[in-house]
Amino acid sequence: MANKYSWPEKPALLGTSVKRLDGPDKVTGRAKYTYDINRPGMLYGKMVRSPLPHARVVSIDLSAAEKAPGVKAVLAHVAVGAQVMYQGDPVAAVAADTEERALDAARMIRVRYEALPHFANVEQAMATDAPAVFPGGNTRQGATEETGDLVAGFAKAAHIVEATYATHVITHVCLETHGCVCEWDGDKLTAWISTQAVIQSAQQFAQALGIPQANVHTIMQYMGGGFGSKFGPDSQGIICAKLAKLAKAPVKLMLDRKEEHLDTGNRPSATAHIRAGITADGMLTAFDGQSWGTGGAGATSGFPLPYIYNFPTRKRTHKDVYINAGQQRAMRAPGHPQGCFLTEILMDELADTIKMDPVAFRVKNLPPAAPNAMWAEYFARGAKAFGWDKRHATGDPTPGPIKTGMGVSAHRWGGAGQGSQAHVDIMSDGGIVVKCGTQDIGTGTRTIVGMVAAETFGLPLSAIKVEIGDSLLPFSGGSGGSTTAASAMPAIRVTSVDALEALFAKVAPALGTAPENLVAEGGRIFIKGTPAKGLSWKDACKLIGTEPISVNGKWAQGLSGSGTSGVQFAEASVDIETGIVRVTRILAIQDCGLIVDKLTAESQAYGGVIAAINFALFEDRILDRVTGQMVNPNMEMYLLAGMSDVPKIDIMLNNMPERGVIGIGEPPTVSTASAIANAVRNATGATIRSLPLHPHKVLAALEQEKAGGTN
């Protein structure tokens, strides 16, 4: 039902490609990230962390550090006798007047540990003779999900595929590491913090420090990535605040890259042993999967399985396995890349049992079509745009060592909105300030907040002053689950419409009409249908008088939606003599409700695809099996794509304004890796059922399957 808040039918700005408001500030360095915040008299904090994956703290001696030059505060984070559960578990911290001295002092903190048994991988933790490392058990068996008669399902199958599929642990690798600057004024705390949840961080600081939330002010104007790992102050934030309190001076505590890999979250691993059946004419009949995974020390590892496709009978069990490694955190579409990979590789293997085209096979087994389940349409559109008809059957017949193939995969996500509030001021000089306690985590939120207001007021984006990223602003949720746009945009729209109505009420008498006859367009307010009868925005605002228009509003139903679907196609070439996989093309089709800024929406899709190429080909958190320590806690040995590894990426966004705003920060990263792995399989004929597709694994698979021509 259309109402006064509904999105405009013929928008001037929405859906167009608008450059980020803060682009120039970012590239010139004027934008201040948490890392750039420097306060008068500021100290530097440094944490001491457990070098062991599991140990009891026998003693902590802070005395040498306390006496070290420049040191202003030292604290123990854990009690003597406590257990540390992973390498990097925080133990103590210091603050000193320079970073160098903080580091020197941190080295002087003497912690004695009694090493305890640990698990560096799931096999160790799942072994029947494994020691009891985690209270309550080393694993946690989840409930069994079961639908239909599995035995009957398998009985209908003409072919059964049975295999084990797996994805690995990767870390978030935010370009800006986690951390904050904390400054106290009496019992009031101000914290500049690199966070995806500025208001919720204030709440968490208050709870952890035992002070009223009203006493905490958190600020995050610019952030170098979070991807699900930055929803609060974490241990480093609380420690930073405590150090600042002890030292009676502001403290900056930013983590280094190693700490980042060890203690700020990761995507859990996923493994599943799966049996699945298919009829001779390509209908799925049954799915039986036992899965397990690790989210580190005591954390969960769930993910959806089977993914998307319609298995009429299915059974699935899942087991969380605990190992002595940093705990997982939400990471870009939590669970979905894992469930997608485990299902989509299986799908290609099933299709091959009856020599059916993977696209046709998928379309045949989709759930019913719906606005949030547009896969059938996307498979068809994508196949055409990508040149799927040129795909050869499994195993590239081209002579020579370079084999090329195509793969496809589908995904889904939620992306719903709720609860955001906003405030709009219109001043008599025509100025507009839009306030919302949401945050721009690099996705372009600042720009789209301004766009929605500018659209409503019929003004250019430059006319709007946007204030976000501050806990003193009207409530908004954390930026997770792709909810930011869908939460904040409706709030901005509602509040802007109400503010405009208030302005119309002031302007209408001067134009000799009723407020409801007015429209704001092209920088003017005028009587609908007669643009000549009106005033410029500036002149209209002169009628406001001394008391500015000041309106609060909040998210309303009908302006946002939820549920997205997407399909991705990948083309990859494999050098079967070296095992090197190169992705040559990606096509990402994504629906997204109403597109606010086409440019930043596309940018999210590009970023998601590139992150997934990293997941597929490069990233791997590698723990030494004996010592439980990470061997690649840096950015040299923990691999991420370089420019030359990024292929041509085509994005097709399906604008669906009738569905309202839906977040798409996460979904584009879900199915890329599976599409790439399927392309590698199509190229070589070798099925690699686990990620990453490192050359050693590709070569091993080729040797094994004897698919290589020249070995």
């Binding site: 002579p399 490069f618 690649n632 370089g642 050359p695």
Partner: protein, 337 residues
Amino acid sequence: MAVIRDVMPVFELYQPASIDDAIKLLDKHGADALVLAGGLDSMDWLKDRLKKPKAVVDLGQIKELKGIKETNGGLEIGAMTPLSEIVRHPVVREKFSLLMEAAELVASPQIRNQGTLGGNVSQDTRCWYYRGGWTCYRAGGNICYADTPTSVNREHAIFDADRCVAVNPSDTAPALVALDASMVIRGPKGERIVPAEDYWIGPGIDITRMNVLAPNEILTAIRIPPTMAGAQFYFEKVRDRQVWDFALVNVASAIVVSGEKIVKARMVVNAVAATPRRLKNVETLIIGKARNEETADMAGKLAVEGAETLRHNAYKVPLMRNLVKRAIRGAGATWTS
């Protein structure tokens, strides 16, 4: 970059202007000194506080160590010449393009601008245990973390395993051996010339060093003789990602063909052992044969004879075999099947 978790420890910085002064300083400080060239390897050790030299001797001010000179059909390249200068040099490109290709595949443009040839050939291994600060044999401890039945060692050696199984990571090193280069080394007792092939040493000789340099010696220049000028060259480096990454295995070969037959050949593989591995047996095998698939096949098989794999590096055997095959096929290989 191993970890970069720290700031550099305090040291005395010396910036001598002549080779003689540099050697005097090194002689005085002995094992407490660190030679600094472009610093790309050295700075990591310092920032990670894994090396704490009392003195750092920066060779950056010594003019005689920089530049490329033509010498009787060959070249003499100062040890402090940046890799990017080598890549650009017209004679390198014309006669010794093998070195150009190798140097151009090192790391990234920034690193090639700053990194020197002397530093590139003298760099330490990238073994992640060692670089991560684990006190292994090479770091003076009494265990090799990479060589246990459960170690993660996909990048480690398949030849000449000793107490240490780390590999030499240099891209230019195998090219220099293939070009029959020699290393000019200066110490307190004067100059000595070492064939490139003998410049690197394995852990059996000294587990704490990768080359023959004594603490009071510096590498002053690399001489490339005309022996292989204008030969048919092949360089290939296989790395996980296509930029800013060390070789999993690389191959450098220089082949001279007369008629249809190979008359001269030098073939070298790196990142499979602690030293670049010259494949003399392959060279002998292919002399008198044509550059075809049959020769390539035989050469590939022979090249990896005697390889011994660790838990995770078995792939290096087919990888090295295939690279040797490709080196023999040459760059223009075409495919019919």
